[in-house]
Structure formats: C-alpha cells, structure tokens
Amino acid sequence: MRTVLALGIVKGLIAQIIGTALGMGLVIVIRLLGGRPAWEAEPIVVVGALVGAIGLLIGAGVFSDWFKWTRGEETPMRHGPPEGKPAWTRYFGVDYSHKVIGVQYTVTGILLLLVAGSLAMVFRLELAHSGIQFLDAATYNTYMSAHGIVMIASILLGVGGMANYLVPLMIGASDMAFPRLNALGYWVNVPGALLVLAGMVVGGWNTGWTGYPPLSAQAPMGVQLFFLGVYFIGLSSILGAVNLIVTTLRMRAPGMTLFRMPIFVWAMLATSIIQLTATQLIGLSFLMVVVQRLLGMGFFDPSLTNEAIILGSTPGAPVLFQHLFWFYSHPAVYVFVLPGLGIISELLPVFARKPLFGYKWIAMSSMAIALVGFLVWGHHMFVAGIESSLRVPMMFSTMLVAVPTGVKFFSWVATIWQGKLSFPTPMLFVLAAISVFLIGGLSGPPNATVSTDMFLHDTYWVVGHFHATMFGGFVFPFFAAVYYWFPKVTGRKYNETLGKLHFWLMTPGFWLQSLGQMRIGLLGMRRRIVDYDPALGIDTGQLLITIAGFVIAFSVLIMLYNLITSARSQEVAESNPWRSRSPEWQIPSPIPEESYARPVVIVGEPYDYGLPGSVYARMSPVGASGAPE
C-alpha cells in the first residue's frame, strides 16, 4: 500500500484533483470579487482543468530537479530504479532512463489505442444498420470525435515510444541528450489524455478531431477540454523533437556519419523537424478558439458588434482556423507515417538478408516528404472557400509528395527482390504494411485533384483513405516493431503461432474495412453522421465494415494476450534472434542499465546484409574511452 501511494502516477493524480479544486476555487473567488455570480461552468472548468494538469506534473515529480536548480542546487543524474523500492515501480513514476520512458510511451500509447478502439466498436455497432439503434446523435458525435483524437494521441505516443527506446540505442548513445526534458515530454501526455477523456463527460463535443469553428465555438463545453488536452499532447511533440534532434546530431557513436545511421533514425529526424515547428500552429489555432469562447476574442467570428463597427474593426474569419490547423495537421500525417515507413525500411533488409536498396535515396525521401509536406495544406480546403488561386498550386504540390513516397515503394520492392526471405511475425506485418499503405497512397491523388475532390470531400472515401494510410504507415509497422523488439526489451520470445494468427485476422480484416469504407463513400455515405438513408443501398457494406472492425479489434486483443503471457512465462530469447547488424542487437537482452558497457564504434555500412566479412558496429575493447573527438 505504501509503495502504491508513493508511485509518481498516484501522487500526480492526487495532486491533479487538488489542483483542479484550487483552480476552480480561484475563478470563483475572482468572480465574487468582481461582483459577478459565483458560478459559470465554462471558465471555472477550464481553469480548474489547467491548474489540475500542472498539479499532476508537479505532484508526479516531473519538475522536482528543475525546482532545485532554480534554488541553485545541483542534482546528480539518477540511474537505476528508485532506492529501496521494487524495480517495477520506476515505470509508474518519473524516471530518466530513455529505455524506461520508451516503454512508458509505448504502453500508454497501446492503452489509448484500446480506449479509442472501444469507442469505435460502439459506434460501428450503431452504424451497422441504417436507422438509429441505440446511440443518440450527440453521443455518437462525442464518441466519433473522441475516437479520432485519442487515436491520434495514441499514434503520437507510439511514435514517441519507438523514438525514445530505439534512437539512442541505434546511434550507440548512452541516453537522450536531455533526460529530464525527456521525462517531461512523456508526462505531459498523461494530463493531456485525461483532459480529452474528461471532455467526454462534461458535455462531450461534436466537432470531430478537427475542431473547426464556428461549430467548435458553439459546441458543448467538452470541446474546451479537448482543446486543452491536445495542447498538452502537442507540447510533448515539441519537447520530444528538440531532444531527438539534439541527440541525433550530437551523440552518435564514433564513425557513425549521417549516412551510416540506421534508416529509422533518418525517419525520426525528418519527423522531428515537423513536430518541432508545425505543432505550434495547431496549438495556436486551438488556443484561439479557447479564448474566443472564454473572452469573446473573435478570431473566427465573422459577425461584429456595434462597438467593433464604430472602431472600424475587420471581422474574424473561420477559414483562418483551417489554414492554421492544416498547416500543422497535414504535416502531422507524416509524423504518423514517417516513423512507420522507417520501420519498414529498417526490417526488410534483415528479413531479406540483402542490403537496403538505395539507402541515401530513402534517407533523403523522408526529408523531402517532410519538407514538401509544408506546402500542401490547402488540399483539405478545396471546398471550404479558400482563395481559388491557391487551389491548383496546392493540387500540384500535393502530387509532388507522391514522388518521394514512390521512391520508398521502389526501394522496398527492390530490397525484397531475389532476397532470401523468411516470414516470422514482424516480417508479415511489414509486408501487410506495404500492401495497406499502397491502398492508402493510391486513394490520395483523387482527393488531391480539385475536380474529383468536390465529390469525394466529406465522404467515407476520405475515411477509407486515411485509415489505410495510417494503418499502413503506422499501425502495421508499429505492431511489426513491437514483435521485432519484444525479445530485446523483455528478453523473452513471443508466441509465434499467436503472432501469425494476429496477422491472418488483422490483414484481411483491414483490407475489407478500408476498401469497404471507400466503396460506401463513393455510393454516398457522408462522414461524421450517426445515420444514413437505406435507399443508398449500403446497409450490407456497413455491416461488413462493422464485422471487419470487430475482427481487427479481436486480433489486437490476441496480440496483447500474447505479449503479456510471453513476457511472464515464455522461454528466454537469444540476444540476436534476427541476426541484425544494428548495435542494439549486439548487447544482452534485456538491455542492462548502462546500455553499452563498451562504447560502440561504427566501422562499416549499416545494411550490408549478405556481404561476406562486412561489419557495421564493433564494441571497443574494455577500458578504452569512446569519447567523441
């Protein structure tokens, strides 16, 4: 009991409750002092939520070292589990090891995946048949909106998990450049996710994950907590990106030039550039709606009061929100997929026993996708009334993204070509990822073409498109990564039969779901709506999609069962079961507290699989100092 109460997360939650109460009380006091009625739900709830979230971080101990610094005390870096406590407790508190933080990210990501998935199961049941079954429209809207944004949070956490665990290991570093910042980067997600979920109970909201005004300016109060929660999650992206870029640029092992980095590190570098910069704009756009609702600041309000007219003021503009929002949220889709595409490129050579085809091209294509991605946001706004002079340029720039994406496909095919293929579960998921991402990618250009998008916009076609890109670009590769590095993280083997079962259920299930969504979209099914006309003739299609959705959900449960039971009982894994050349596979599993007791030196190319006598990483002799020059 004492141990549980001392856990960072428990202390944090208690502090969050106290903080929320304090924040609410503060607003009430200020209101009373100003001679206004004590209670007005929205400002009180918003400030309470904000103070509570900060309370959680302080209570969990995220800031403790920094508070000491402000008083001029030095704090030595903590290593290993907290003193006198069982080792598992470090996963539930503030810990500075990137390996612990990586696992925290990943597990939290999977938990959010389950939450968001369950919401989808509920509204898929509702959609399985035309007419209203058991969800009213408001509840449907809340569930659908929460599903979308919680899934996005889950993806961002999954990306953070892979980045934090793998990047320092892959470049032969002892840890991230800023371990304390790293802990903060993880922990802000906790209040972030809690706030979004709390938004569901304080009225819910009906805007979808995009939160467009004017609807979001009038939506129920839950939308405020959704905005605030996303703000915290976005903060995590920014902090994580700073850390990752500095780590990658400054902490590589001797001999690891930029073009000798594992390809996943390149993918994360490109991803981090997007996260570092674009995230500010979704944060800003959400903050602007928050203050529009709270203080009447009419950024997106096209109407003017008399006073404003006398001042000569111009009106607000709802389309401005979409510009700011998509300036982040289009690049953000590459945040979701670039790491996953990196995983595909990382694993294929291992299972094909062949060099990665066109390493430099792949590295550069990630960068190109990230940079061109900044020039295409208008393709989400073709029918939103944007300047018509923007439409065609945005259409062309969008098509341009297909070029570096195509480079990746060609490289994957050429890497597989004439390889000595083997098909354990991770490889199966990699291949599934390629097939699914192909569906998603091919369904993109019709959206990007102004004339066709007039018809496709706001239909289930788009829903099919982005589920395919996100599953192909993130979910499948992420599962591949989970299976692949599971032996490294836990030191145990997972159950291969269950892994294959997961694959054989999920892959066809997903094809059916995604192609089905596109099909009913073409037949007239709109997005974000609880009901549809039976005359559309899509009842059967909807039913099939629902069944496919449940199959996918069931297969994910199999994976969880597999991972949990394997971690506890399965046989011990060898240290390098996949015969990988990457440095993290040359050390024992699970990895000791100090990952590289003997510093790594890079002496060759990363992906020269099958080339006799070639070496990538070598451990320097005991006692030698591996300090970079």
């Binding site: 700073v242 500095v246 400054r250 910069t277 950024f299 001042l311």
Partner: protein, 190 residues
C-alpha cells in the same frame, strides 16, 4: 586526464547540446509567433486600429534598451565581474516590468477590448502571448539574479546566464516584428 579537466570537458559537451536545444526551441517558437503574425495580416489586411503611438514607441524603446543591459550582464559574468552582472540583471528586469506595465496597464486599458472584432482579438492575442513570454523572462532573470547573488556562475561556467540572456534577446526580437505589425503597418480607418 585529471578529474577537473574531464568534468570541464563533460560540461562543454553538455553546453554545446544545451545551446543547440535552445535554438531549436526558438525555431519552434518562431512558428508560434509567425502564426500570430499571419493571423494579423489575414484578419486586419491593410488596416490597423488607432493605437497610442507614443506609448508604443516608449515601450519598444524600453524593451530594446533592456537588451543592452542584458548583454552587459552576460559580458560581466563572463569576466567574473559579479557586481556589474547583478546590477545589470536587475536593471533588465525592471525595464521588463516597465514594458509589461505599458502593455497590460496602459495599452490594455485603452478603448479597444478583446471582444471588439478582429481588432480586439488580434491585438490582445499578440500582445498577450508576447507579454506571457516577457513575464517568464523576468522570472527567469530573477532566478538567475538570486543564484548569482549566492555566488553561483563563473566566467567559465554560466550556462544559466547565457540561456536567460538569449531568451531575453529572443523575446525582444519578437517584439521588433510585432511592434510594426500592430502599430505601423496599414492605415487607420475612422
């Protein structure tokens, strides 16, 4: 390698990482302020509200002068001149407070209120976000000042001072863009 040189070596390694990290953070923040500027031009176009020009010029001058003292403080500690260092820091903080009073106390009590159309929204959005940064900068300065008073920092090791100084200059630089966007560009409609 003696223990002292090895820790100095480690300190300098970490210093280089810290600097890079701080600059990355600035790049990130540039997108935040850039977004606000974009909103200003999108919503106000070629017009602007009638703001108190004397006030605008005064607070801008105050903030620019504060950067001079911040620089003086940093140079002083780099030469182990603690007295000038502490004095200049305090002057910087005081100038920062004067700037804040100018914005929050005077500009915000003018005839434009946050709910007055796009004029109010953008004016308060931009000055508010900037004022928050100035406020955090002042707190940062006071922390550094307090630690400096207790004898922390030396000519060789003063990353805390350096970070504080660059941050302050950065916030100052942002205002160099915000001031013309709010006070100078565009014509006043009556």
């Amino acid at each position: 390698m003696s223990a002292i040189t090895s820790t100095l070596e480690a300190y300098q390694q970490q210093l280089r990482s810290n600097r890079l990290g701080l600059w990355l953070f600035f790049i990130s923040e540039a997108f935040l302020f850039g977004g606000l500027l974009a909103a200003r031009f999108y919503l106000w176009g070629n017009s602007r509200p009638d703001l108190d020009q004397a006030l605008g010029l005064t607070i801008t001058a105050v903030l620019l002068i504060s950067s001079f003292f911040m620089n003086r403080a940093e140079t002083a500690i780099a030469h182990d001149d603690r007295k000038t260092f502490l004095e200049s820091l305090l002057v910087t903080a005081i100038l920062g407070v004067i700037f804040l009073i100018g914005v929050v106390g005077f500009e915000w009590s003018g005839h434009i209120k946050p709910w007055h159309g796009a004029y109010g929204a953008v004016l308060y959005g931009m000055t508010g976000m900037h004022a928050l940064h100035v406020l955090s900068g002042i707190i940062f300065i006071l922390i550094v000042w307090n630690n400096g008073r207790k004898g922390h920092y030396s000519g060789e090791r003063h990353w805390g001072v350096e970070a504080c100084a660059i941050y302050w200059h950065y916030v100052d630089l942002v205002w160099v863009f915000f001031y013309p966007a709010l006070y100078l560009i565009g014509t006043v409609v009556h």
